[in-house]
Amino acid sequence: MNRPIKNATRTAVSVTGLRKAYGEKIVLDDVDLSIGEGEVFGLLGPNGAGKTTMVRILSTLIPPDAGTASVFGHDLHSEPGAVRSLIGVTGQFSAVDNLLTGEENLFLIGRLLHLAPTERRARAAQLLERFDLVESAQRTPATYSGGMKRRLDIAMTLMGRPRLIFLDEPTTGLDPRSRRTMWQIIRDLAADGVSILLTTQYLEEADELADRIAVLDRGRIVAEGTPEELKRRIPGAHLVLRFADAASLDAAARSLREGSRDDTDLVLRVPSDRGIRSLRDVLARLGDGIAVEDLSIHTPDLDDVFFALTGTPSKEQNQ
């Protein structure tokens, strides 16, 4: 998505030399990070890469072993209270109270934020409306779908009007439609000027939402940049053309003049960074004379990113 990069004049999050280990297992290894105000920052990595630990440290839940971190200039260690009043956290595990109704959940957070009763009610009503929860406001989350629970979770996070929101895998476990809704919610938050740290396992999601992405691998940041910069570093989308015989493969390779060929599998891989236009070009150049047995389109995924950046596939890393 082509949202212009905002002018990050102030820093929302600043992290230097952050380290965290549990016993022998190093979870975060000398991580530096900077998130500008109003920026959507994507932290991309597989399970066990250290994403959740990063969020837990930045939201003051656990202290780092070494390094410093600050949120809007407030040091996490010396001013945790100031940090907590500026942040909101929505984790990958539902943080709603299952015995309270949707509305009571929001009231509870409003009370803990010490909002005046009128403001508490107004804010809750507004958020229920915004997240399409008005009809289910008087029911307990036990009756909610996964997407509704996640929306209530975010509504609770927004009760305190945080200026920085941590979204830890906000779409994991959601069905495609709820995922789309969640994406729109995140875009709306960004449009309001809220700074967001989003963790995800999905390149597509980071690409869709983030202004900048950092790729986390075994506790280290192995790449950082805009989605465009990152995608330039990985093998892009390509067409996979399969032929019936070597002669057709030869003919195709001659007329296309690009791509890499695999003579044993009779396969030609042709870059197709321009989507349908690439596809149409390739088909036009092949013409009617060359018989293509099979055609598939390969788009880069997290595995490609990981393979390109670390040389190892993004298979499960041990927790």
């Binding site: 003051t60 907590r84 956290v89 010490h114």
Partner: protein, 278 residues
């Protein structure tokens, strides 16, 4: 607002949450009432005859039920340990604790809410159990002042045991474990005190334990207050025990919390779900 009024405000909010939980899920409260009521009926109707005959001077000529009910009130308070530990553990192992800890909420408000909610719930349960006791023939000879003292001792014990159960719920790895760890408090300690029979009638080793454990002075001061016997210093001993239990538990909780801050208890989902194309 000062830090103290904020802390009180937050604790009150969390107590309100606990009471709402009880209202939504009353099963735990019902259990807290059922256990002592069953014990009361069992000991009064089934076992009470021979026990009552064997009591001799300890009953001071009154029916066994008058001897028994102070102990049943103690069991009512003890029975609330299970629900409290379960509630604390449910919060600690769920997601809500992280949300609250990442907010500028007074530290300890959540546990204070559990303790406060537990005391209110327990006192409500003791009122119901006292009502049942009166129905089966319990007659107290206590003055209004004595009744205030009874309520005070029950509240103090409830407060102390709520902190103890909160500590047990905090360190337990699972809800079942949290409940299990309170069973000795709910059942073993009452039986090994003068709840059902005087400690004097027990074998020597058990008698020594019964005479020196916290439930005995509690039940004996309740019994003295309710039957109009001289209370002596047992009430002070009972309150001292309650204070000791509360303070020890609070220290344990504070140590456990600072340890927890260094250890994540999260279990991350082990499989990477595939990306459905939206």
């Amino acid at each position: 607002m000062t830090a103290l009024t904020l802390a009180i405000h937050d604790a009150t909010t969390m107590i309100g949450r606990e009471l709402k939980h009880t209202q939504r899920f009353p099963l735990l409260l019902v259990g807290t009432i059922m256990v002592p009521v069953v014990m009361l009926l069992l000991f009064d109707y089934i076992l009470g005859g021979p026990i009552g005959h064997g009591l001799g001077n300890a009953a001071r000529g009154a029916p066994y039920v008058d001897f028994l009910v102070p102990g049943i009130l103690l069991m009512t308070v003890a029975a609330s340990c299970g629900p409290t530990a379960i509630n604390v553990n449910t919060d600690m192992t769920g997601g809500i604790i992280d949300r609250i800890r990442a907010m500028a909420v007074s530290r300890g408000a959540l546990l204070a809410g559990h303790v406060g909610g537990s005391v209110v719930r327990t006192l409500a349960a003791t009122i119901v159990v006292t009502g049942v006791a009166v129905l089966v023939g319990f007659r107290a000879t206590a003055s209004v002042l004595d009744w205030f003292a009874v309520v005070g001792i029950l509240a103090a014990l409830s407060f102390a045991l709520a902190w103890l159960s909160a500590a047990l719920g905090l360190v337990a790895k699972s809800v079942a474990g949290a409940n299990g760890s309170t069973l000795p408090i709910q059942f073993l300690l009452p039986f090994l005190s003068s709840t059902f029979v005087p400690a004097d009638s027990m074998p020597a080793d058990v008698r020594w334990f019964a005479a020196h454990q916290p439930f005995t002075p509690v039940v004996e001061s309740l019994r003295a207050l309710l039957t109009g016997a001289p209370v002596g210093s047992t009430a002070y001993l009972a309150l001292a025990w309650c204070a000791a239990i509360a303070v020890t538990s609070a220290i344990t909780i504070s140590a456990a919390c600072s340890r927890n801050r260094r250890v994540t208890r999260r279990v991350t989902v082990a499989t990477r779900p595939s990306m459905p194309s939206p």
